[in-house]
Amino acid sequence: MIKKILLKLFLVKFIFLSSLLFSFGVAYAENTVKIGVLNPLTGLYAIVGKRASQGINMAVDEINQSGGILGMKLEALIRDSETNPDSSVRTGKRLILQDKVVALFGPLHGGAAIAVNNLAKQLKTPQFPWAATEEINTTMCSRYTWRVGSSAQQTSRAGALIAYREGYKNWSSISSDFSYGRSVVNQFKDYLTELDNSSNFKYQAWPKLGEDDYSAYITNIAKEKPEALYVGLFGADLIKFTKQAKAFGLFDKLKIFTDFGGNHIILKVLGDNNPFGHWASSRYLHYYPETEANKNFVKNFRARYDGVYPDMVAGEAYSTTMILAKAIQKAGSADKEKIVDALGETVFNAPEGWIIMRPSDHQGWQSSFWGVISKDSSYDFPILKNIQVISPVQGSHADEKSGQGCK
């Protein structure tokens, strides 16, 4: 009988010891500054996830090669957010509690970004979400939330300006039914209606996030015969939709405005399936503006990654890393609270242009780019031409209408 006790004691000790032993297997280097990155390496947004890793790694190496930050090495711990809120929150917790990161980057998924935002607030860690969903710099904004990338307000409102200039009044929309998907369309619709109150939205399609089959929605849109369609789908959803829409000949029936459809990787993957002659936006373009900063960035990126061009997610990830580094430098310490204090009004000459971290809503002020999808002989993928640059002054909400001070 004593043997039974021994068996059970052994069992318990075994479990506890092995778990503790494994925990020591994770080595801690004392003099590194760690960033936790929640990247969609699998799932719906995986198509851009890898780009973000590339942008960050390049930034980290550049910083380390020029001496690091405050004499310490910078390290990015890139983890898979699996494009869903649940995994993002768990992994985020892990990064903060176990790996002791000074900041969290991402997630890109709107709902995940909001969930992690909450976590970051609880665990007092600065978070730089890449999701464009509007709650991030309005209702959900906290002391710890800082968004470098464009918000849905910026690109969608910019899109509304273009739509107004082009004179389209009868609209349809299609976007995923979740926080980000709704933000994108609502911002566009609200601003367009403000500019032109004769514009109307007859049919709005709200497929679920990750929907595989858009044929029913496409048929409905075609039935309503709008002049133009605003597409807020993103990542793999956009690819699926565009392919299916092309198969139905939808591009010949109306004008399409795709938010973030001008992102390099999307244009490249879609190839001949792209809606040529239609409008699309991007947060960053590797061929515009043709500034020294941009050209150098693209050159270095291609040299590092086998001739691959940086897309908007890579550009943004790079900028986010740089801005954080600047803030740490400014703060003079890797203490999370001091970093947060130093972030307001941090300015960075990003490859895409100047980005200013606006203190009132913690949003990175930057321009948005809309253009027409076209072929170009100098590239083996489509690019945007007839580029319209919408400055943040025109695009963003005025200061008062934005975040509630982000406490």
């Binding site: 390496l41 699998t42 799932g43 719906l44 995986a46 198509i47 996830g49 890898k50 039914d177 399609a205 709200w206 497929p207 595989d212 089959d213 044929s215 029913a216 929605y217 048929t219 409905n220 075609a222 039935k223 015969k225 793999a236 690819i239 699926k240 392919k243 299916q244 198969a247 139905f248 000949g249 990787i265 993957v269 879609l270 190839g271 399936n273």
Partner: protein, 292 residues
């Protein structure tokens, strides 16, 4: 668009969805009827069909699509047969819980395996040139590729029907789904019938995945969603009933096409309501005969 061509378009949309579901559901229902196992890894074969089509697509072989259509199901038949012999056979004499768990573990393994083999980059396949483009239906246009799928569905069903009702193998399958022990008593090596059914189901499933690859996304986890959808089809249609699977698949397909019109968010819930009603009032399904 006139109402008539609109209704026709949506109806065809529903048929396309239904045909794909049918391919996967028929395999699943056979497994339930003959082997009495619920194969959680059934969606994994669907996924593999899509990934393998990508591999053949990038090889830029001549007539890549048509070659793929033949060799991928055969390849999957072998792989799945292999898996069945080594992993599932030892478990038949045990409680069904164990086969459930094994197939669940297998599904997990496959989800990571495709990432390891094909990497994380986004994979895209084009519709074969000959099937791309649209055909005009009244005052609207409809993709030829979808019509191809709609036509392929009945063709495959006919082949299956022929197999089940006009060949010896088919006879063995139907007998096994009725009374395995009797079959064994008659001296038939039932083990190989099981392997055959498993391989057949897997190759049907991978055919479904192969067909959708050009217009849906090729991602790990794509098997999980389709598994649940085909599970619903099978339960509604009746376990082990091929005819039931056809009716169920067509029904669900139409529901998904027209559902978004009538009650946008709730078409999916409606589908589950039907499922639950069937389970409560006629657990053996609309066309099933036996209750396990």
């Amino acid at each position: 668009m006139t109402d008539a061509s609109y209704l026709l378009s949506q109806f065809l949309n529903g048929l396309t969805i239904g045909m794909i579901l049918l391919l996967i559901a028929s395999g699943l229902t056979m497994l339930l009827g003959v082997l009495t196992i619920l194969n959680f890894a059934h969606g994994a074969f669907y996924m593999l069909g899509a990934y393998l089509l990508y591999s053949i697509f990038v090889s830029k072989m001549f007539s890549w699509f048509w070659i793929a259509l033949i060799i991928i199901p055969i390849f999957i038949a072998f792989i799945s047969g292999f898996l069945e012999i080594f992993l599932l056979r030892p478990l038949y004499k045990r409680e069904r819980l164990y086969t459930l768990l094994l197939t669940f573990g297998l599904a997990m393994v496959f989800d990571d395996l495709v990432l390891i083999i094909w990497g994380r980059d986004f994979l895209s396949v084009e519709v074969p040139k000959i099937l791309s483009g649209t055909i005009s239906l009244g005052d609207t246009s409809y993709p030829i590729y979808f019509l191809f799928i709609i036509v392929l569905g009945p063709v495959v069903s006919l082949i299956l029907w022929y197999l089940l009702y006009k060949t010896k193998f088919g006879k063995l399958i139907r007998a096994a789904s009725n009374d395995v022990e009797m079959l064994e008593a008659l001296g038939i090596n039932v083990k190989w019938v099981f392997t055959g059914v498993f391989a057949l189901g897997a190759s049907l499933s991978c055919l479904g995945g192969l067909l959708v690859a050009p217009f849906r996304s090729i991602v790990p986890g794509m098997g999980l969603e389709i598994f649940i959808e085909s599970f619903i089809v099978v339960v509604i249609g009746g376990l082990g009933s091929f005819g039931g699977a056809i009716i169920g698949a067509l029904l669900i397909g139409q529901l998904e096409a027209f559902g978004i019109l009538i009650i946008p968010n709730f078409s999916m819930i409606f589908m589950y309501l039907i499922l639950l009603l069937v389970l409560i009032f006629k657990p053996s399904g609309l066309f099933g005969e036996k209750t396990i």
